[in-house]
């Protein structure tokens, strides 16, 4: 068990981070190269001002019509995404690992708050699962891969929650948690989780077209 822990905590973590960072850079560079080669129009019409204007209207809850039309979804998805990003980065246990390995640390969340945020992420996953299973417009465009992606996102939070509360064997959940986190990191550049990488660009491009060419609002 201890050897396995050292393996997932050591070499495997390196592999996961290298694949995550390398994969993200690869996807970004590949996108820019192919855009330069075959979609130059994207650069011609790109506008930083209108791109950012559009992004602001979509990263602020209720700042666009669609999010006002769907208040429950908006609250869930914003809470989900904020917790998804903030909880792992600001978790005391994670920062201790950074400190232990590289001697760097930063502000952390109180443990109780991180615990609630973890539950919010898991709750968000359950909500998204419910939508996929019951809402016809979502169900119709749901593939097996969508459930796999949802599971990849939920797994580190479920296992992390169980490890923190030390039910049924701390070490076991901890190793699973680290593994699940590594799977998720690697999955980001190589699955539809890539929306994390791409969405600022798609949003900014549409914002540019609407702002500088169409003189209209896209929210």
């Amino acid at each position: 068990m201890h050897g396995l822990y050292n393996f997932v905590r050591g070499p495997l973590a390196w592999v996961a981070f290298i694949l995550f960072v390398g994969g993200t850079l690869y996807r970004l560079i590949a996108m820019l190269v192919i855009a330069r080669k075959k979609d130059n129009v994207v650069f011609d019409y790109f506008s930083l001002f209108y791109g950012l204007r559009s992004i602001f209207h979509w990263i602020i809850p209720f700042a666009n019509r669609n999010s006002r039309q769907r208040p429950i979804f908006t609250i869930v998805t914003f809470a989900f995404h904020i917790c998804l990003l903030a909880a792992p980065i600001l978790l005391l246990a994670h920062v201790l690992l950074w400190d232990e390995s590289f001697g760097i640390s930063w502000w952390t969340l109180p443990e109780g708050v991180a615990d609630i945020m973890t539950l919010i992420v898991i709750g968000g996953c359950i909500y998204f699962l419910w939508r996929r299973l019951t809402q016809p417009e979502v169900k119709f465009v749901t593939f097996a891969s969508d459930f796999v992606i949802l599971a990849i996102v939920a797994a580190p939070f479920i296992t992390g929650f169980l490890a923190y509360h030390q039910w049924l064997g701390y070490k076991f959940w901890l190793i699973l948690h680290i593994l699940a986190g590594e799977v998720m990191l690697v999955a980001i550049p190589f699955t539809r989780l890539a929306h994390m990488i791409y969405s600022p660009f798609t949003r900014a491009y549409m914002g540019s077209e609407f702002g500088s060419v169409r003189h209209a609002r896209d929210w």
């Binding site: 996108m31 820019l32 192919i34 855009a35 080669k37 075959k38 979609d39 129009v41 994207v42 011609d44 019409y45 559009s54 979509w58 666009n64 019509r65 669609n66 039309q69 769907r70 979804f73 939508r131 809402q135 016809p136 417009e137 979502v138 169900k139 119709f140 465009v141 749901t142 593939f143 969508d146 539809r192 890539a194 929306h195 791409y198 969405s199 660009f201 798609t202 949003r203 491009y205 549409m206 914002g207 609407f210 060419v213 169409r214 003189h215 209209a216 609002r217 896209d218 929210w219």
Partner: protein, 447 residues
């Protein structure tokens, strides 16, 4: 109306007979399909399509943007993302190895169940441009020869005559002369100047105006005359600004048509082109055609009729004699509202002309599409019911205003709304801005 049914393993939510689709599909082979799909995907698409497909998380948030989806009681097969699922995702996943029946359904979706109005782009949190994806599907269908028959015929007309309606070279000046003579009975000094080099403005219209809406030419001439403008119309091909080849994604023809239009304006050395109340023509001149010809923006300034009337009223060149009394509402056409942001100008013009203006909800960029644009009405009678059943929300939206007149500053919207008004028995008149402006403006030169 045929109910939804499964044909050769492909689900069709509507089944209509159309010679272009039916006969075209019979000539398809799997090899040809595979070759064309890959040729278009590899040769003509790049980062946008790839990133759009990889970024979409299948969340379905675009659904409520679509009038087809809303009008069909939220039938999921009409949701924007569902249209991508039933077309592009499958083509990419199977690397072009899809069946002829699949392609027939893909053509039906892209050409008749999507108006490329881009409302969904405003509902996708990532700003994914589904209209663009549907255009790529249309492009593939164009190469495969499975474009619906009526719109294909229109594209042929563009290719042969450089206008949309097979108007012959002598019929065009003939119609203008006839309208000029008629209008001179009202304003004796009125002229429709042809081929006047160095005029300030070239006025261009769409093919249907000389074909069956000649009174619009009359009204425009009265407006130009009254405002005292130095204007002209070309007597040669290039007078028509419309472009159905843009909607069949026959980009080569679109480029030819737009080049002739711009070159005509350059030949006449005009300062700007003013165009009649048409939406898609504006899109083709302002957005699609110029880009195909590698002009970032239009090479000659193009002013849509809304902006033109706005400037005339604002500057006092046209004055209102007596406001229009009947209650009116305004339909915001996608190509000049979402496409050019003319909504406040349109409201200024309507409020100047009319005493009782009532907003539709939602409005401006968020207005529901007319369901006729994007070439759908040009797919002709076989798909009329697609438009009627696909836009109940528009009928409800108009009815809720209680207005007696619906102003639509776009030809496609105008014709589509007339069909909707009659199908849903709304008892509303659909009018162009110029219909009302002509009626309420001061005409000092009139006898």
């Amino acid at each position: 109306m045929a109910e939804g049914q499964v044909i050769d393993g492909i689900y069709f939510n509507e089944v209509w007979e159309d010679a272009g689709l039916d006969e075209g599909t019979k000539k398809l082979t799997p090899e040809k399909i595979e070759k064309v799909i890959n040729k278009v995907l590899e040769g003509e698409t790049g980062a946008r399509l790839k990133v759009y497909v990889d970024t979409c998380v299948h969340c379905g948030l675009c659904s409520d943007a679509c009038h087809y989806y809303l009008s069909h009681d939220k039938d999921p097969t009409y949701a924007p993302v569902a249209k991508v699922k039933q077309t592009m995702w499958e083509m990419i996943k199977k690397k072009g190895r899809v069946s002829p029946t699949f392609m027939k359904r893909a053509s039906q979706i892209a050409s008749t169940q999507c108006n490329v109005c881009m409302r969904c782009a405003m509902y996708c949190p990532f700003g994914i441009d589904i209209a663009y994806i549907m255009s790529v599907v249309r492009r593939i269908c164009h190469f495969l020869g499975i474009t619906p028959l009526y719109i294909q015929d229109t594209a042929h007309s563009h290719a042969v005559t450089m206008n949309q309606m097979w108007v012959k070279n002598d019929e065009w000046p003939d119609t203008l002369q006839w309208q000029e003579e008629d209008a001179q009975e009202e304003i004796p000094t009125l002229r429709i100047p042809l081929e006047k080099e160095g005029a300030d403005i070239m006025y261009s219209v769409i093919g249907p105006e000389p074909k069956f809406l000649a009174q619009l030419l009359y009204q425009a001439a009265v407006i130009f005359e009254t405002a005292g403008l130095n204007w002209t119309m070309p007597a040669t091909p290039g007078w028509d600004n419309s472009d159905m080849a843009m909607y069949t994604c026959d980009n080569e023809i679109m480029g030819r048509v737009k080049r002739v239009h711009f070159e005509t304006a350059r030949r006449l050395r005009v300062k700007k082109i003013v165009m009649g109340e048409c939406g898609h023509a504006f899109r083709s001149i302002y957005d699609r055609g110029n880009r195909w010809l590698a002009w970032k923006m239009h090479p000659v300034y193009v002013e849509h009729a809304i902006e033109f009337y706005y400037n005339l009223l604002k500057s006092g060149k046209i004055k209102i004699a007596k406001k229009y009394e009947e209650s009116v509402t305004l339909h915001d056409p996608c190509n000049v509202m979402r496409g050019r942001g003319l909504y406040e100008m349109a409201r200024y013009v309507v409020n100047e002309m009319c005493a009782d203006f009532r907003e539709m909800e939602p409005n401006r960029e968020h207005n529901y599409c007319c369901c006729a644009g994007g070439g759908v009405i040009n797919c002709g009678p076989p798909f009329k019911m697609t438009r009627m059943l696909g836009n109940r929300v528009k009928a409800e939206q108009i009815a809720a205003t209680g207005a007696k007149v619906c102003i639509s500053p776009c030809h496609n919207c105008h014709s589509g709304l007339e069909d909707i008004v009659s199908h849903y028995k709304l008892g509303v008149h659909v009018k162009f801005i110029s219909d009302i402006l002509y009626e309420v403006m001061e005409k000092p030169g009139a006898v």
